[in-house]
């Protein structure tokens, strides 16, 4: 114990090479038989769900959340407690429309609905926001590498960028569901093991953790303050956080791509459902590790590193048994690679599809586009690398990613909601809404108002301004509304459906799958909230 030994290095290399080999060996077969649709699916739903979780946030969660919990206890859970509600909104409102539209990039829907300018503006915002966030995602494993090796973090950022871009250009490793599942188990194993080791090193065990957490107010998760300057109040989490997560999971191409490429609406919804149920417990687990680390540091009289992102990697290297350290660090690497691969790939795909093939070379052959996509990957790798150098100054990585998104996501979501819900809105209004919405977010960011509210402000301003400005231009044509108006509501179609229905065989009792799914998520939200409320009540006597 106490250092990253040669054994750990060997485990790390074997693990990473093994994951890459499994990806290269089985990836193609899997894609041709399982990942495509219409055929029988053999991979169980829970494995697909864990794969979704692995590509979403596991590496930065592993690194960032303990630092976050160390600093502020479980109050930061207010940022994530809303995820089940956000997923319910996505499942009901956006996923069915995206699926029915048959689009490859969600910004394509905006062009059909509002025109090319809106599509390009939204895609550009995505590229800027996701490119910056990818810098943070790149910074996370580079920091781990720096802690493990003692090398300068700027050097490890460059090293990680070269590895990540090479992986992506060569085809990526993220396609293999089972390797993602292994990564998730390795990371959770690391989390649980660290809890066991920390508790066993404290004289009073769990009692010390809970006593320290309660005495330090670290279990005060639910802050009912109506003051908008309180960053992590329940209302900031509910009002701003729901908007942030609907926008993050619904209008960010790197997140929604998996839903767009899923064979059916139900399958797209399923992947969101898994996130809806698992994201909050996962965040709770890693924030709680932060609370445990705080108790551990206090009991052992240790001084925390200046950069709290280093907190947990340092603990893993110092406290874990030889070999297990290498395994857990390797899990972080592999998970980070998976996230980086999908982020760089979606950045490259949007660059080529929404800009290069749209404006620069519409009729080039596929070899040309392949080359263009590889150059785009390299460009976004460089862009992310440049930003990664500053990521360490943004505080805990997990908050940094969300803060970056908050600059853009509210206005972007507002535009999508205008497209879907308002049949009077048009391109002029949409563009005005995005611009004024982002300006409003900038104005709010200059005040003390919680950054979580920025998403809500961006949404409301973009919708109100977008709708109002739309009234100054003609209403959209029926063709422009075709993706968002449900075809069967037309009177002639209703008559046709009724005629066919009358002659069709009867099924029986009505049971709505989507409604049941959403009710489950809403119930899960209240269960989570109640559990946190009970913990808080206990901590405060």
């Amino acid at each position: 114990m106490g250092a990253f030994t040669w054994w750990d290095t060997a485990v790390l290399i074997v693990y990473v090479v093994g994951i890459a080999w499994v990806g290269a060996r089985f990836g193609k077969d899997q894609e041709s038989t399982q990942d495509y649709f219409l055929g029988g699916r053999k991979i169980p739903g829970w494995a697909i769900g864990l794969s979704v979780m692995a590509t979403q946030a596991s590496a930065i969660t592993f690194i960032g959340a303990p630092g976050w919990g160390f600093e502020g206890g479980l109050e930061r859970l207010a940022t994530f407690i809303n995820v089940p509600l956000a997923m319910a909104v996505l499942i009901v409102v956006l996923v069915p429309i995206f699926h029915r539209a048959g689009i490859y990039s969600i910004y394509e829907l905006l062009e059909r609905r509002f025109g090319a300018l809106t599509r390009s503006l939204a895609a550009l915002l995505f590229l800027i926001a996701r490119g910056l966030a990818t810098g943070v995602v790149l910074y996370a494993p580079a920091l781990v590498l720096s802690v493990v090796t003692g090398w300068d973090v700027n050097l490890t950022i460059v090293l990680m960028a070269v590895i990540a871009v090479s992986y992506t250009v060569l085809g990526g490793i993220s396609a293999v569901i089972w390797t993602d599942v292994i990564q998730m188990f390795v990371l959770w194993l690391g989390a649980i093991l660290s809890m066991v080791l920390m508790v066993s090193s404290l004289p009073g065990g769990w009692g010390d953790v809970f006593a320290y957490g309660a005495a330090s107010g670290m279990f005060d998760t639910i802050d009912l303050s109506l003051d908008p300057t309180v960053t992590y109040s329940l209302w900031a989490g509910l009002i701003g956080g729901v908007v942030m997560h609907v926008a993050y999971f619904g209008t960010d191409q790197s997140q929604i791509q998996r839903v767009l490429t899923s064979p059916s609406i139900a399958e797209g919804q399923r992947s969101l459902l898994i996130g809806g149920y698992l994201l909050v417990p996962q965040m709770l687990l890693f924030l709680f590790i932060g609370v445990m680390l705080a108790a551990y540091y206090q009991q052992h009289g240790l001084t925390a590193p200046d950069n709290l992102n280093e907190l947990f990697p340092r603990y893993v290297v110092n406290a874990f048994p030889v070999g297990v350290t290498g395994l857990v660090i390797a899990g972080v690497f592999a998970a980070a690679m998976s996230s980086l691969d999908s982020a760089l790939n979606s950045l490259s795909a949007v660059t080529v599809r929404d800009f290069y093939a749209r404006y620069v070379r519409p009729d080039a052959d596929e070899k040309h586009y392949l080359k263009a996509s590889r150059w785009a990957t390299i460009f976004w790798g460089l862009y992310a690398t440049a930003f990664a150098f500053f990521a360490g100054n943004l505080g805990p990585v997990i908050e940094a990613v969300n803060r970056i998104g908050s600059w853009f996501y509210g206005a972007l979501l507002g535009t999508f909601l205008l497209a879907v819900l308002s049949h009077r809105s048009n391109g002029r209004g949409a563009v005005s809404g995005i611009i004024v919405g982002m300006a409003a977010v900038w104005a709010v960011s200059q005040t003390d108002v919680s950054w979580l509210y920025q998403n809500f402000v961006g949404l409301i301003v973009s919708v109100v301004v977008g709708y109002a400005v739309s009234l100054t231009a003609p209403a959209p044509s029926a063709a422009q509304l075709s993706d968002v108006v449900i075809d069967e509501t037309a009177p002639d179609m209703q008559a046709i459906l009724k005629g066919r229905s009358d002659g069709a065989a009867e099924i029986g009792r009505d049971a709505r799958l989507t409604r049941r799914r959403c009710l489950g998520l809403i119930l899960w939200f209240f269960v989570s909230l109640a559990a946190l409320g009970l913990l808080q009540a206990w901590a405060n006597g």
Binding site: L38, G39, G102, E366, L497, K498, A511
Partner: protein, 189 residues
């Protein structure tokens, strides 16, 4: 331009792997109260390696915004009358349209770059569907649920094509003054 060999090939049907008994509870979960089998005519083009090995198929029609991807071999049998509703999905897309669809698929998942569309393989196919009808009630519209007869998944992407097919069919029937001859039997059970 598409090769003649493909467009003149006889229509084949993909196997209906999901029977009425299995389709019924799935449709019920989506709120359907009545249901019937249907076939939607589409165009299939193989995806494979330069060696000629076929690995997957793109299924599309010229009025669909996106192609569907089906893995493995295209097992089909000649179209026979079975009493199910037969709907026209649309004409054959151009080869360049298929190539462009395949390009976007590969941009989303770069591992597939080595695979190419195989122009000579274009053929018409009939895709098995189960159509579920959720009745209209005061304040609510009647809804159509489109379920794949291959996998049992709800395929919202095919809904516009199915609705267009139903509309065309209703218009043709109105013009002829009699129902179409290919859906004169009811689905069992």
């Amino acid at each position: 331009m598409m090769p003649e060999v493909g467009t003149t090939a006889p229509t084949a049907r993909l196997p209906r792997r999901l029977g009425a008994v299995a389709a019924e509870p799935r449709l019920r979960r989506y709120g359907a109260e009545r249901f019937e089998p249907a076939w939607l005519s589409l165009w299939a083009l193989a995806i494979g390696r330069d060696t000629g090995e076929t690995l997957a198929w793109l299924l599309a029609a010229d009025n669909l915004p996106r192609a569907m991807l089906m893995a493995g071999a295209l097992t089909s049998h000649p179209a026979e009358r079975d009493g199910a509703l037969v709907l026209e999905g649309g004409g054959p897309p151009t080869l360049s349209q298929f190539e462009r669809w395949w390009l976007w698929e590969r941009l989303a998942r770069p591992r597939r770059w080595a695979l190419r569309v195989m122009p000579a393989t274009l053929r018409p196919v009939e895709f098995p569907l189960w159509l579920g009808y959720a009745p209209g009630r005061p304040g609510r519209h009647a809804r159509l649920i489109v379920l794949s007869g291959l996998s049992g998944e709800a395929l919202g992407a095919l809904k516009p094509a199915v609705l267009a097919g139903l509309r065309d069919r209703a218009r043709a029937e109105a013009a002829n003054g009699r129902p179409s001859t290919r859906d004169d039997e009811r689905v069992p059970g």
